[in-house]
Symmetry: C2
Subunit: 421 residues, 2 copies
């Protein structure tokens, strides 16, 4: 270990103090090392010191909702691209980093959302941050109407546009949004930024309603479908596709890393908007493009997801089967209109301990969701059963949860009759 | 093509106008579709309409400087990870996205730079933006001293820290930096943000000199080694390693996408600083982690680059051989202390036309570097010969350049004696 010659700078002390505070608040982050077993998904091997070496665990928190990342054709597409083109892109899109695969995937994503064009970014985070910041600095006087629960990446882009004004509206509250739109100067360029499925609460926005307000007040609409693409709509085009309103949304943003099981983010919109962002968004221009293997795998994944509905159907069947078991066992959970199953805990330390015990005592992995991902006091487990969670896995997980939540005082003790049963 | 119901929003017209302006300034960006041939690097296939189908071109602009992305062991490491773990990470680092490969790579990068710890980001851009923004918002009163030519990603992070004050110092000008450090309040927390190799000009900073000033004025140092890692220093640890001053720099940032030929970015620093950024940097926390295949390939690449110096040596031999040929042919270029060979053109339209003609008439690809990557009036070709550019490729490229630059009036006409020769 090298000594740092300059460690008298106050930042070193600040890090120490800030981390102590985080520890005291019970929200110090520990990443569990989990190696996914491609041929046994959703089984992973835990490789930390917590468990005997190579102990398999059932993962309930992956965002590869449909398991597309372990579909053999998707894996083979990635492997073929590596053999043919190497592992990295070798440059920005402008510096020899545009392969024909990139262009093909952008066209495929545009078609998925019924838009004229698509644009790839290295992540969903960057697609939101770079696009929103570029849009909101394009003209003077922008006002951005932003849902209160928008993702950190949208907030980063909105805050990054220093000249724009931000108006936060109450979460999914169209009356509040309309009041705020009506109060704004008619001539100011307006943007409404919102999501379809809110990932931590699992609730769903009224896209048609928001687009009607956008028309009435002449606002541009920017919709994050990150937790919906692949899962909703006839071809997996998201909630906007399911609701038949994709053509009312100006910009639809999505990810390749969740429902499509690969990596990277994108936007789709009119040819002009995409060309403008391609030409001006700093986070798009000044970065190495996605590796051909990622792009090639995503292309196969998106095409399969569009063509094959059975994984979506199976996922919702499994989510419902899981909820039925939770209900039967009396395990509290938040009922949502999506595939996301939050189990409220309400305390950071407790949330981490329950997850730790699930892992160590039962070989079940659920991520503790603490601040800053959710507000303090609303800490939770966030479970996402997928098409490959079996009945047996569900029985074991629900039993483990019921036992632990009772022991930890989150659920009331079992009634005598139940104990006797 | 879907119609957009809301196209009367002024942003649509703004995109149209802005793109027309960009076209009129001759800097409309066209991405040449280039498919890298892994087994014949630096040969690519051009797959646009410009050339006959499947025409091979020699690429002089890749940032995979050493060709690590096509080293068979690196490709095989990526393939093995895909077979074993699937194509995507499936979640953020906290949400089941930390594989044992991630942890191993972070340790390897820390060792490369002689630091206590490392942290991976989805790109070099994000590593700069997220880290600088998190550092400069950590305490009140930060003053950031930023080199005038810092990369867009550093500027994005610095500008993103709204509470911090930014002082720009003249490029590589230590006298100006010292004057500005001396003029700042002694008690304010200070950061000096700079690069080692400046990518577009190819010049190199005086790291030891800047670190001496940092000690004198108690400033933290943040060094971007993106265009140096893999290429300089005994193990490819960058200019700081070559100059023996890595332990004087607080934070060293690098990329896996250039000298290491893969994808992604990272920082290395003290354990406390890395733990702080891991716990607070938005662009680290709220994003899907790098795919296991990228991380596994990078791990093998970094280990090979550390152990094997021949690619670095060969690259510099090739760069010198190329410069000698340019000199002999009278082709103007900027002499730099790095591996980067800029050929000044000075006009956006002309720069694009020369690159186009190089491609179409000679099968040679060099990226036109225009605004906003460099200031207007300093447009250039940026050539990066690597270990696998042969003498024959160089002869052809230099001949093509000399011919085109004469035709386009960038070089004076050939003397009679030369024409007669």
């Amino acid at each position: 270990m090298a000594s740092i010659k300059n460690a008298r700078h106050p930042f070193y002390e600040h890090c120490h103090t800030a981390l102590n505070e985080i520890r005291q608040q019970g929200r110090y982050r520990t990443f569990t090392p989990l190696a996914r077993l491609a041929d046994r998904f959703p089984l992973y091997e835990e490789e930390g010191p917590a468990l005997p070496e190579g102990r398999e665990v059932v993962v309930w928190s992956t965002n590869d909702y449909l398991g597309m990342g372990v579909v053999p054709e998707v894996q083979e597409a990635a492997i073929a691209a590596i053999r043919e083109h190497g592992v990295g892109a070798g440059g920005t899109r402008n510096i020899a980093g545009t392969s024909p695969l990139h262009t093909a995937l952008e066209a495929e994503l545009a078609a998925l959302h019924g838009k004229e064009a698509g644009l790839l970014f290295v992540s969903g985070y960057v697609s939101n941050q770079a696009s929103l910041q570029a849009i909101l600095t394009s003209m003077p006087g922008w006002i951005c109407f932003s849902d209160q629960l928008n993702h950190a990446s949208m907030i980063a882009g909105i805050k990054g546009a220093r000249g724009a004004q931000t108006v936060i509206f109450a979460h999914n509250d169209l009356a509040d949004l309309e009041a705020k739109l009506a109060a704004a100067p008619a001539e100011a360029p307006k943007l409404i930024a919102f999501e379809s499925v809110y990932s931590m609460d699992g609730d769903v926005s009224d896209i048609a309603g928001i687009c009607a307000l956008a028309r009435k007040y002449n606002a541009l609409t920017y919709l994050d479908e990150v937790h919906a693409v692949g899962l909703y709509g006839e071809e997996g085009g998201g909630i906007a596709q399911r609701d038949g309103v994709a053509d009312e949304v100006d910009i639809i943003e999505g990810t390749l890393a969740k429902g499509f099981g690969v990596h990277g983010g994108y936007i789709t919109a009119s040819a002009g908007i995409v060309d403008f962002l391609r030409s001006t968004a700093s986070g798009f221009i000044f970065t190495t493009s996605l590796p051909p293997s990622v792009v090639g795998a995503a292309l196969v994944s998106v095409r399969k997801v569009r063509a094959e509905g059975w994984r979506r159907e199976k996922m919702f069947e499994r989510v419902n089967a899981f909820r039925a078991r939770l209900r039967a066992a009396g395990v509290p959970f938040t009922m949502t209109p999506s595939h996301i199953v939050p189990v409220p805990i309400g305390d950071a330390e407790l949330c981490k301990r329950i997850c730790r015990r699930l892992l160590v005592e039962y070989g079940q992995y659920a991520t503790p969701i603490n601040y800053p991902t959710v507000p303090q006091g609303t800490e939770r487990l966030r479970l996402t059963p997928g098409p490959f969670h079996t009945d047996e896995m569900m029985d074991e997980m629900v039993q483990a949860l019921a036992h632990l939540l009772r022991q930890e005082g989150v659920m009331p003790p079992a009634r005598q009759t139940e104990n006797a049963a």
